[in-house]
């Protein structure tokens, strides 16, 4: 009986240890939670994939993120989205308004906004431009791009932990969030859509420290 007891206790300890590993000490229960926690602990460098946009001269993502040596708040979207991307769009409009107010007050810090479409087939630069105009995007603050090469886009999504699931009706579900990148092109924080003000304050703070 003592052998069984010993083995049972070892198994319980083992189960506890694996549960701790899986959930980062019982802090996260979902992969999305894990992704956000991991990024805060270890920033992820964006791969230098070629990007394309109307107000943006064709260059790669790392160069784009380094422009102005500031902080960039990024989101992934697609123009045909009828759900979460719409609220993302209005979040970004509010962020833009806050940044424009900063500029008017003279207390501007180098924070920019970048919206990346993962629906390369339907979202060509012209479509992106129309969409941007619809949102009253200021090109000096907020750019829209896509990654024209499918393989490079897959690499970008995989590296940043973006998972896109087709919902069988021509639309996509994806783990939308506010991603904050520093001037070295590293994703340093992920904020939930509901944490818009937090993301803005974090970006401003980070940009302020760079000056």
């Amino acid at each position: 009986m003592w052998r069984t007891t010993l083995l049972s206790m070892l198994m319980v300890l083992g189960g506890w240890a694996s549960a701790r590993w899986l959930t980062y000490d019982f802090q996260v229960w979902t992969d999305e939670g894990a992704r956000r926690l991991e990024v805060a602990l270890r920033p992820v460098k964006a791969p230098a994939v070629a990007v394309q946009g109307l107000e943006v001269s064709a260059q790669d993502l790392s160069t784009l993120l380094a422009t102005g040596s500031g902080v960039t708040v990024v989101d992934f979207f697609y123009t045909h989205c009828q759900s979460v991307c719409l609220s993302l769009g209005s979040s970004f409009q509010q962020l833009q308004a806050a940044l424009q107010a900063d500029r008017a007050k003279g207390s501007a810090v180098p924070v920019r906004l970048l919206s990346i479409s993962f629906d390369g087939t339907r979202d060509d630069p012209a479509t992106l431009a129309t969409y941007a105009r619809g949102l009253h995007a200021d090109p000096t603050l907020w750019n829209f791009i896509r990654v024209p090469d499918a393989a490079q886009q897959a690499l970008l999504l995989q590296r940043l932990g973006i998972v896109v699931v087709p919902d069988g009706r021509g639309d996509y579900e994806h783990n939308a969030a506010l991603l904050v990148f520093d001037a070295q092109g590293r994703m340093v924080r992920i904020f939930d859509l509901a944490e818009q003000q937090l993301a803005l304050d974090y970006a401003r703070n980070l940009a302020g420290k760079l000056q």
């Binding site: 009986m1 069984t4 049972s8 189960g15 959930t23 992969d31 699931v165 919902d167």
Partner: protein, 188 residues
Amino acid sequence: MAGLLLTAVLASPWPRQWLEASMWRHMLLQFPLWMLAGALLCAVLPTRARSIISIWNSHGIAGLIWVGMVLSVLMVPRVLDLVLRDMAVEAVKCTALLLAGTLLRLSWGPAGLVLQCFFLGMLLPMMVVVGQLYIDSPLRLCNAYLLDDQERLGRWLIALAALLATTWLAHAAWLLVRRDEGAQLGKL
């Protein structure tokens, strides 16, 4: 033989992808199938191995603890996403389920009604709670699966728990009644 065949099928890319393409199929079809493969493979275990196992598995306690631990950990939503990305974790998951199937088959008999009841009393309520969480959650708990998939999984988890509970209760009742009758006959 059947066990080896089933294991080979489950491990090959096409069936695996089909099973893991949907959240409810991943948890409620793939997981039990791996356990079934383990239970079938149990037949190839030589007698010596079985006796060694039973020394370390008195009353099936250690075996049931393994099964309980594995199923509890695998109900965490993160696992379903992680195994799609990381092959090492997928291998560990499948091996753990295989072993769980084998140990469940070896431990069920020796456990007796009381220990079986304890085991199910831990596992089934957990399935119901997790199922209800999957149904109620307004957010997608897994990046790779859709919300209606998640809700369907929740409903089926609760249904499965109810089915297992009723089956076991009926079986236990029948066993106890038979024992009573045997005892009555013995007294005559």
